[in-house]
């Protein structure tokens, strides 16, 4: 259980590093 919750730290860390790249943003149908 602690292991599963601990892996969420990796989600946050890697997610943050990934967010520094200029990926396209998700758009709703209205925004398109």
């Amino acid at each position: 259980m602690a292991f599963i919750l601990g892996t969420l730290l990796f989600v946050l860390l890697v997610g943050f590093i990934d967010s520094r790249l200029p990926w396209p943003r998700p758009k709703t149908e209205r925004q398109r």
Partner: protein, 194 residues
């Protein structure tokens, strides 16, 4: 299996570039996240295989709500729907499908403990191909997912920073290394758990 799911998330990111990686990684382990409170409440349980300590791949997991086929489909649909208003139909569908991919990948490793219906109503047969019986094989499979996912992610990240300068290239490389390192770290922590 967590590292294998993360590898799959990285591979999906390479194709569905508009979906943030954190959301894909969260989606791949969402069934396990929902499992946690049910485990604390003793609604879902893990029983060590006799003669083992319940470490990597040696648990019989009675996650009869979160890891039942129908339960997984419902949880996946709810998760995807949560992202629909902000990120649109395609991203919401991708996230829902990625949540459900957890059930498919778990099916490969679980020991015939995954039911079709919540609470295993009707005492139908349980499923699971049981690759966890050969821990080295399941860990190798997870490692392959991590390596392939990190490579595909790196290729996509390099493509997205093309012509944006060397500092962006370094940032893309660092992100891919983070994906790889986190996958390997999670696999090691899981594999050597007691």
């Amino acid at each position: 299996m967590i590292a294998g799911h993360f590898g799959f998330a990285a591979a999906v990111k390479a194709r569905e570039r508009q979906v943030p990686l954190w959301a894909l990684m969260l989606a791949t382990v969402w069934l396990d996240v929902v499992f946690v409170p049910l485990f604390v409440a003793k609604i879902e349980t893990i029983t060590p295989v006799p003669g083992t300590t319940g470490g990597y791949g040696t648990g019989i997991i009675y996650a009869d709500y979160t890891h039942s086929l129908i339960g997984a489909i419902v949880i996946s649909a709810i998760f995807g729907a949560l992202f629909l208003p902000r990120w649109g139909r395609r991203s919401a569908f991708v996230l829902g499908a990625v949540v459900f991919s957890h059930w498919i990948l778990d099916l490969i490793v679980h020991r015939t403990d995954m039911p079709l219906l919540p609470r295993n109503i009707g005492n139908l047969p349980r499923f699971g191909f049981g690759l966890w019986r050969i821990p080295a094989a399941s860990a190798t499979l997870e490692l392959i997912f991590v390596l392939v996912g990190a490579y595909l992610y790196w290729r996509a990240a390099r493509a997205v920073v093309l012509f944006k300068g060397s500092s962006m290239n370094r940032r893309a490389d660092f992100a891919a290394i983070s994906v790889l390192a986190s996958g390997i770290a999670v696999l090691a922590l899981d594999f050597f758990s007691t």
